[in-house]
Symmetry: C2
Subunit: 364 residues, 2 copies
C-alpha cells in the first residue's frame, strides 16, 4: 500500500484501505440520491470517493440552508491541472447553493520554504492564482477569496483557536521537531482558522462547511474539527478525492514543472508535455496490439477520465479500447491534446478578463 | 540575589550583578553628557540604569536623525503606576525627537491566559489602556498606537521573521514545553514583530529604535536583536530600569489589584491603598525615632523617588530625614497621597478628553 502522509503520497494507492486507516466513509450513498444529471464527472465516477460528516452538507443542499465550501490554495507556483480537482468541487457546491471561501496561503508557501520570500508568494497569488481561479466561473458576490496575511480576521481567529491545543498535539499530527520554525508550527492553527473563517459572525455565524481535500491533508481536518467543537462552531465536513497522476506518473507538484500542466501553459507547451507523458501502453505497437494497455496508469487516459472527457460513455469506450489494444497511446494523447487545447485557449481569455475584476471576488 | 526570569522577579535585586549576568552596560556615561535640565528624574537618579546599544540612540538625538521609541502594553488590566516607568521614558524620547510606537498586545494577554477572551483584552485596550496612554501627553501625529490583532502588518512581519529561528531557540529562551499552546510559541515572534515594526518601509525603513524594558523582559530583546540582524534591520537598542515595588513590597502586577494603584483609581482609593502600603519605618513611633527607617524599601518613599517628587533636593531630604528617624512613615505617606491625588485628578480629566480622540493616535 502507498504511504500517505501530510507531505504527500508515494506508490500505488489502495483507497479502500485508506478509508479504513483514516476512518472516513464512502460518499457513494449520497451521490446515488442526487440528480445524476447535475453531478460532475468527479462525483459520478467515484473520483471523489469518501467523506466525513457529509450528511449535514447533503441536508443543507436538500433544505436550501446556508452552507459554505472552502478550498485553500498554496501559491508556491501557478495553478495546474491537479488544482482543478479542488476548484471544480467548489464550483459544484456553489451551484448547489454554497458560499465559496478560498484562502490563498502565502504564509504557508513562505514558512514551509516553497518560495524564498513572502512577497514572491503574494505576487504569485495576485498575478497567477487568483485570476486562474476566477476564470473558472465562480460567481461574483458569493465567492470570497483572501490572501492569508492580508485578512486580519485570520490571525485574530488563529489566536483564539491557539489556546485550545498544545505543541505536543500539533507535533503528533504534523511530525514537527525542535528545528521547525515557529511560523510553521503556528501555520497549522492558521490553516484551521482559514477553514473555520466562514463560521465567523461577519459571515453569518456557525454553519456547515465542506472542505474538498486530498486524503494526505486529512490531519489538518482533524485539527480543525477538534478546534471547531471547542469554540462552539460546526465541525467542518470534508470530501476526499483520488490522486491525479503527475506527467511522469508520480505525484503532481506545482513546484516541479516537469510533473504538471499549468493552466497558463500554451496549447503548444501542453501538447509537448502530453506527448512525452508516461504511457500505460505496450512498449511497441505490436506489443500494444497483442497485450493491450493499462488505462489506470496511462497519464492521457487518466487526464481524460479525471477532467477532460465529460461523457461517461466515451470514457468507458476509450478505456476499453485502450485495454484491448485497439486504441493506441498516441491516439489517446492526441484526443487529450485537442480537448486540453480548447480548454487552455478559452481559459486564457477568461483569465485576462478576470485580472481586471479581482476586487469583485475578494473577501469583504 | 534575586531570581530574574521572563515571568518576573523575586526577592531583593542586585543591579550590578544583573548587568553582568545579562551583559548590558551602565547608561550613566550617556546621561552625564546630556543636558541635565532636560533629563527626567528617572534618568537623573539612575532608575534607568543600563542599556544595550544606546550609542546609536544618543547619536540620533545629537544629530537630529530619525529614530523610534517603542514600548508595548499587555492589556491584562487597566494601567497602573508601574507602567508609567515605560511610558514616561517614551515621552522623554519623543521630546528628544523620536516617533513613538505603542503596540497593545491583546494577543499576548489572551494566549498567556491573563484574560478569558481576546475580546475582553481588546475591550480593556480601547476603554482603559489607550485613553490612559494618550492622557499622559503624547504628541498627535508622532504617536502610533496599535492593537496587535488589528494591525495586519504585525502578522505579516511575524511570518517573515518566523523562518529565521527555530522552536528549540524559542524554547531555550522562554522555557516552553510540549504543553505550551502554539499561540504562546508564536507570540514570541509577534513581539519581535512589534519591536521591528517601526523599521518597515511604511514607516521610513530601518532606523535606530529604543525599547525601554524591565530587565526581566531581556530575552524578548535578545530574540528581536538576533532577528533584526537576519532581516537587514537595525538591531534595536534597549534601556533597563529598576523595579518599582508593589504596594506590599513585592512585585507590582496589574492582574493583582492589591499590589498596585491604577491610573483610574480615585484619589480616595489611592489614599487608602497608600495608607496600608508596606512601610520601611520602625514598628513603633519610638523605635522609628531611635533607629530611623529604611527609605529603600518603604513604598511611599520609593513612589516619591520613582515618580512623584520631581525635586532631587527634596527627595534627598525626605530620604535622609526618614533614615534618621525625624520624618515618620505617616508623614511621607500623606505627602505622597497629596501629590498622587493631584496627579490622578488631572489625569482623569485628560483621560476623558483622550477617549474622544483615540483615532488621532492610532497607527495609520
Amino acid at each position: 500500500m502507498a504511504k500517505v502522509t501530510v507531505s504527500g503520497v508515494e506508490g500505488e494507492v489502495d483507497y479502500d484501505a485508506l478509508m479504513k486507516e483514516f476512518g472516513v466513509e464512502p460518499i457513494d450513498e449520497f451521490m446515488k440520491k442526487m440528480d445524476r444529471k447535475k453531478l460532475p464527472p468527479m462525483y459520478r465516477r467515484g473520483i471523489v470517493f469518501a467523506h466525513r460528516n457529509f450528511q449535514r452538507i447533503y441536508d443543507s443542499i436538500m433544505n436550501k440552508k446556508r452552507f459554505a465550501v472552502l478550498t485553500g490554495f498554496n501559491p508556491s507556483g501557478p495553478p495546474h491541472l491537479g488544482n482543478l480537482l479542488f476548484l471544480k468541487q467548489a464550483l459544484f457546491f456553489q451551484d448547489m447553493g454554497a458560499d465559496v471561501f478560498i484562502p490563498i496561503s502565502n504564509d504557508e508557501t513562505y514558512v514551509f520554504k516553497k518560495q524564498a520570500s513572502l512577497e514572491k508568494a503574494t505576487q504569485i497569488a495576485y498575478e497567477q492564482v487568483i485570476p486562474d481561479i476566477i476564470a473558472l466561473g465562480f460567481k461574483k458576490g458569493r465567492t470570497h477569496i483572501f490572501v492569508s496575511t492580508e485578512e486580519k480576521r485570520v490571525y485574530e481567529l488563529a489566536v483564539k483557536l491557539s489556546t485550545r491545543t498544545t505543541f505536543s498535539t500539533i507535533k503528533a499530527i504534523f511530525g514537527f521537531d525542535n528545528e521547525t520554525n515557529p511560523g510553521a508550527i503556528f501555520y497549522t492553527i492558521v490553516q484551521a482558522a482559514h477553514i473555520l473563517l466562514p463560521q465567523l459572525q461577519d459571515f453569518g455565524g456557525p454553519k456547515p462547511t465542506v472542505v474538498p481535500i486530498g486524503i494526505d491533508q486529512d490531519p489538518y481536518m482533524r485539527l480543525s474539527r477538534d478546534l471547531a467543537e471547542k469554540v462552539g462552531m460546526v465541525k467542518p465536513s470534508s470530501t476526499y478525492h483520488k490522486f491525479m497522476p503527475g506527467l511522469q506518473g508520480g505525484k503532481m507538484s506545482g513546484s516541479k514543472p516537469e510533473t504538471c500542466i499549468f493552466l497558463s501553459d500554451s496549447p503548444e507547451t501542453a501538447a509537448k508535455k502530453i506527448r512525452s507523458a508516461f504511457s500505460g501502453g505496450g512498449r511497441t505497437l505490436q506489443e500494444h496490439k497483442e497485450k493491450g494497455g493499462n488505462p489506470d496508469v496511462d497519464v492521457a487516459c487518466q487526464y481524460l477520465y479525471f477532467l477532460f472527457e465529460e461523457s461517461d460513455k466515451k470514457i468507458s469506450e476509450i478505456f476499453s479500447n485502450y485495454r484491448n489494444g485497439s486504441m493506441f497511446t498516441g491516439e489517446v494523447k492526441e484526443l487529450l491534446i485537442k480537448k486540453l487545447a480548447a480548454f487552455l485557449k478559452d481559459h486564457k481569455k477568461k483569465r485576462e478578463k478576470a485580472k481586471k475584476n479581482i476586487d469583485d471576488y475578494m473577501l469583504k
